[in-house]
Symmetry: C2
Subunit: 345 residues, 2 copies
């Protein structure tokens, strides 16, 4: 094995990409940007929040007085269902096509001051069910259903009320296309789904495992880009969220709660991230090569106020990371699974 | 042609990627992160800056009393030349190789408070020569020489002294590999270099042109990801920076000055960006399909304090933009080319 303290590149077999690993770069002096540390104290109801129960949104619509979860079509949707399919290419270098789709907002809880990390497993389980319902419902019309959450100001959340989003489209987007291709090629070559094999490899020695429950593994992938990026995979072969059984859903809530409380403990502050689910698209043909999984992409590197910047070299040449995935996993694993405060909701 | 106000996807023929364009999403309410606006007033010499002339760096080395530009090997280099070439793959899903290379820091000027946007064309010309020298010199040992600059706190610059970097490696990194493949395929199919053809198409109607000089074009590519992203290309077919002649170098300094002053005027504040150069790698074989170019990736979207966040949907599905490239180009073009303040340096 290569000495991981030396500069090296690792291959991402899920997307056919590479990441440069330069351990120890966090020793360099930092006179750069400091994030604003997140404010923990927020009211449980905010009259100016357009996601709180009973409030009026920018478009004039009023939210119901919901007491669990609440879903609505995004008032400023990036995709719209009323767009005819059309392609254009006046020149081979000027190719475009319309992109019909739909965007929804998923409120996770009526309480403005909550977030998944502070919700109890039963409350998280309600969010798991909501995710699965959305995939089942939107999957009937749209081949790709992208569930995601931007959590915290550092990840561009435009509102801090606990919520996620779903953007569904006819077209299968870039990341999913890559993962589809790579998973298919792996199964053709090796006879088993890529991520099922990979989870077995990681479970066997545990160096990069962060949380292990009966039904789920949370691990820091060998090829992680973000300092504390994680991959959440079921131990069983499951192609889509709605296929999870009752026990797996409960256990997922426990695994997520364990991951998120470790994230919060890492820098002793609410931990920002973007996360989302990838499952088999609703396209024709066989999807046995697909394994359901979630990615967590958290930006922080050194502290609650110093993040990893994916900038010059990363944008123009190759993504790069400043500590090894093994060190990051060890760090996360060493933290207590439960925060001192009682989970709520 | 597709109505550009409707959600659509555009193809990036240089990297074989796509971008989702959802015009008008900037109308949505923003209760999210605000960047710290950059501070214009900085001293011309900062005793705590490890790039100012005569100062001691973190490693104990002392900078010379330089009066133009100054280059040194990065004290916290992400790549190192003393690494033996080695590959490993204990499992098909765990592939890695060592990454020998070298990293340098390029100080653009002794004055701590300057930046390219405030430097005169003759001072920028010195930076152009420095870039070309570095590519010529490092290109003898390393097939890929990545010049880049992270400008401003928003782009993760860890020090505000005007400087760029160069990271050179044996391996040709991801972005360059994609551009090499796409440019080769285009030339095989159409007989001309992709970006030479593309610059002609854009020059012909000018809708996306921001700055046009005798020898250079600065344009907002049809497939731009970042709100005000630009591409800088010579009008002549040139494969690498050192191949630029004297007139082209002077003219490049003028074009860059025109672009950067427009960028500063856009939100009436110093404009952050990451930029870098792509030219043909020093690999075997023919490189006639390559056209030299620079990319500018600036993060701001709505104002000096509200940026575009490439987060949940972008990371998990597909990069997305919130205004059309044509509107962004029109906006930049409409700004005065010269700032009121005298350029210095
Ligand atoms: O080298 P610097 O300025 O310390 O660091 C900056 O540029 C590097 C190269 O793009 C990135 O890897 C770092 O994340 C960024 O903060
Ligand atoms: O939809 P929001 O929360 O207003 O906006 C956020 O998520 C979107 C989807 O990832 C991004 O395109 C925006 O840049 C980001 O600010």
């Amino acid at each position: 094995m290569i000495d991981p303290s030396l500069p090296h590149r690792r291959y991402n077999p899920l997307t056919d990409d590479w990441v440069v690993v330069s351990a120890g770069r966090t020793d360099r002096p930092w006179q750069g940007a400091q994030e604003r540390p997140p404010v923990e104290e927020r009211p449980s109801y905010d009259p100016d929040c357009y996601l709180c129960p009973g409030n009026v949104r920018a478009t004039g619509a009023r939210n119901p007085d919901y007491d669990r979860t609440f879903v609505f079509t995004n008032d400023f949707a990036a995709l719209s269902p009323d767009v005819a399919e059309e392609e254009t290419a006046p020149h081979p270098l000027l190719r475009a096509h319309t992109m019909p789709g739909t965007c929804r907002v998923l409120c996770f809880d009526p309480r403005h001051d909550l977030r998944l990390a502070r919700m109890s497993p039963p409350a998280i389980r309600r969010v798991v069910d909501l995710w699965a319902e959305q995939v089942a419902e939107l999957g009937r019309d749209w081949p790709w259903v992208q569930l995601f959450e931007n959590h915290g100001e550092a990840m561009g959340a435009s509102n801090l009320h606990p919520h996620g989003q779903v953007w569904a489209s006819r077209v299968v987007p870039r990341e999913a296309t890559q993962e589809d291709r790579c998973q298919r090629a792996y199964r053709d070559a090796h006879g088993r789904p890529l991520l099922v094999d990979y989870a077995d490899v990681e479970a066997a020695h545990g160096h990069r495992v962060v949380v292990a429950t009966d039904r789920w593994l949370v691990l820091l992938p060998f090829w992680a880009l973000w300092p504390f990026e994680t991959l959440v995979v079921p131990r069983r072969h499951v192609t889509r969220l709605p296929d999870l059984d009752d026990v797996e859903r409960d256990d997922l809530a426990v695994a997520l709660s364990g991951l998120l409380s470790r994230y919060d403990d890492l820098f002793d502050h609410p931990f920002p991230y973007s996360m989302g689910w990838h499952g088999a698209p609703e396209t024709e043909g066989d999807h046995a090569h697909w394994q359901l999984h979630a990615h967590f992409y958290p930006p922080l590197l050194r502290s609650a106020v110093v993040r990893k910047h994916m900038v010059g070299y990363e944008m123009l040449a190759n993504p790069q990371r400043d500590l090894t995935p093994e060190d990051a996993a060890r760090h996360l694993r060493s933290l207590p699974a439960e925060r001192s405060g009682e989970p709520v909701g």
